[in-house]
């Protein structure tokens, strides 16, 4: 694992764009009030940068040599998740710290816990980018993977905008009010005490992580170089 982490870390820090990104975070945070957006944006950038190590690995038939090194496919896959999270955390944490720093300097009033919670939720949602992108990138390769991501994104957007109509239509056929069900469930969840919500979110996180990891490993085991 050390070798893989060293490699990925050095792959990214070679690029001048990494330094530019960090500078960008600091800059944007001082100028915009919508810190939450900035944190999300830069965390996403961090995510995508980490994902780019996958395409760098695959470039120029590099994966053949990769697996002649002391690496197993399982180890390679797991390292990608760990590295991606570490990189994401790096960006996210820096952005959060700067966010608080800026708020303190500008003497803005803020509730630490609610801001922190917002930030943690951002991290939570961005993890899903990793959980979805790694298996896709591994199965389809970095280039085709991008197209697949776009398609998934498009489907997601369609659901967001037309979801309500589709849901009502679909469930109406069975004589159930789908929307009411969703709203009721949402209210039910929101009404739960904090620790249950925390447990629930952690549970979903872990479940998705494991499923994503299992799929990725399965994809890698079948690959030949």
């Amino acid at each position: 694992m050390t070798g893989l982490l060293t490699k990925d870390f050095r792959l990214l820090t070679q690029r001048k764009s990494t330094a530019v990104m960090f500078a960008g975070i600091a800059l944007m945070l001082t100028f915009t009030m919508n810190a939450s957006f900035v944190i999300s944006y830069f965390s996403l950038v961090g995510c995508l940068m980490a994902m780019s190590t996958l395409s760098l690995d695959q470039f120029d038939n590099g994966m053949a040599f990769m697996f002649t090194l002391p690496v197993t496919k399982k180890l390679y896959t797991i390292e990608k998740y760990i590295f991606s999270f570490l990189w994401l955390l790096g960006f996210w944490f820096t952005a959060c710290v700067l966010q608080f720093g800026v708020m303190i300097v500008q003497k803005t009033e803020f509730n630490f816990f609610s801001v922190a919670l917002d930030d943690v939720m951002t991290l939570f949602f961005l993890s899903f980018v990793i959980f979805i992108m790694i298996p896709i990138n591994l199965k389809f390769g970095a280039d085709k993977g991008r197209i697949v991501m776009l398609i998934i994104f498009a489907i997601a957007i369609i659901f967001v905008f037309l979801g309500e109509k589709i849901l009502t239509f679909a469930t109406g056929a069975f004589g159930i009010d789908g929307m009411k069900f969703i709203v009721d469930t949402g209210n039910f969840i929101a009404g739960q005490p904090a620790y249950i919500l925390a447990l629930g979110t952690s549970g979903i996180f872990i479940a998705f992580a494991l499923i994503s990891l299992a799929i990725s490993i399965h994809v890698m085991e079948k690959k030949e170089y």
Binding site: L4, L11, A64, F67, T72
Partner: protein, 281 residues
């Protein structure tokens, strides 16, 4: 170290079926045309592709069961795959240190600098020769017992090739159990290094012979058409029609030297053998 028994791998228009052995302490050469199956064989040995039949045993194990520790004992140089081009030499140093317990950092750095691979240089800016040197130095850097080298000297001038072969020779001297499987188009490199040669064509074994037999017992006979008719053909393995008559390959040079003192007989080499055995008739 390596034992292939009827290793089979099938692609759309190609089928490999090969048996091969690399004993401990031996240097084995693999020659053949492009597409003959050399890379396929090497990839199967390294566990990069799964065979369709037959058995492969490396260090007594099936490559699909390789652990990281097993792989630390194999030094690899592939012709078409290597470290990412955006990395610098010093990155490679640290990465190798992270991968191999037995990585010899000082020697690697020293050898890189001796060979013009500056620490701050990006691989993208390397010349072809430098890339080849980096690949070979990488393979030699961690005391591996088995080296698998695919075209390690491709693209290098004769002096650079000599330097790399000397590096390999020194490596072998350090530990008499180290073995090498090397594939190459540059026959002279193999002639000065390999103990045995496997020649494959279209996925099949065409010849397996000790190098010194190939160089010493085999011979090239050049005869005019008339002489050819009178020639005892029982020890001719291959024949090629020429403008002047025929070029023939024999595995009993001495027989023809003794019985035909007036015909042209030359020493054999691997290139001539390839031309005569794998070229069209």
């Amino acid at each position: 170290m390596i034992k292939l028994e009827n290793l089979q791998k099938n692609y759309k228009n190609f089928g490999l079926n090969l048996s091969l052995e690399v004993p401990s302490g031996a240097v084995i050469g693999l020659v053949g045309k492009n597409g003959a199956g050399k890379s396929t064989t090497i990839k199967a040995i390294l566990g990069l592709i799964k065979p369709d039949g037959g058995t492969i045993s490396v260090f007594g194990k099936d490559p699909k069961d390789f652990t990281c520790a097993d792989k630390e004992n194999i030094g690899v140089a592939l012709s078409d795959s290597g470290f990412s081009l955006v990395l610098k030499t010093k990155d490679v140093v640290e990465i190798l240190a992270g991968f191999y317990h037995d990585f010899d950092k000082e020697t690697f750095i020293a050898k890189c600098e001796e060979n013009g691979l500056a620490m701050d240089k990006t691989i993208k800016d390397y010349s072809t020769g430098m890339k080849a040197k980096l690949r070979v130095l990488t393979a030699l850097s961690h005391k591996a017992k088995l080296l698998v080298l695919d075209e390690p000297t491709a693209g290098l001038d004769v002096l650079a090739r000599g330097e790399i072969l000397d590096l390999i020779r020194k490596y072998l001297e350090e530990d008499s159990e180290r073995s090498i499987l090397i594939s190459s188009h540059i026959s002279s490199d193999l002639e000065g290094l390999c103990d045995e040669i496997y020649m494959i064509d279209d996925g099949k074994l065409v010849l397996h012979e000790d190098t010194d037999v190939i160089m010493g017992k085999y011979g090239i006979i050049k005869v005019g058409t008339e002489e050819y008719e009178k020639l005892d053909k029982q020890y001719l393995i291959a024949t090629k029609k020429e403008a002047f008559g025929y070029t023939c390959l024999t595995n009993e040079k001495q027989y023809y030297l003794d019985n035909y003192p007036n015909i042209v007989i030359e020493n054999n080499d691997i290139d001539n053998m390839i031309i005569l055995m794998l070229g069209g008739k």
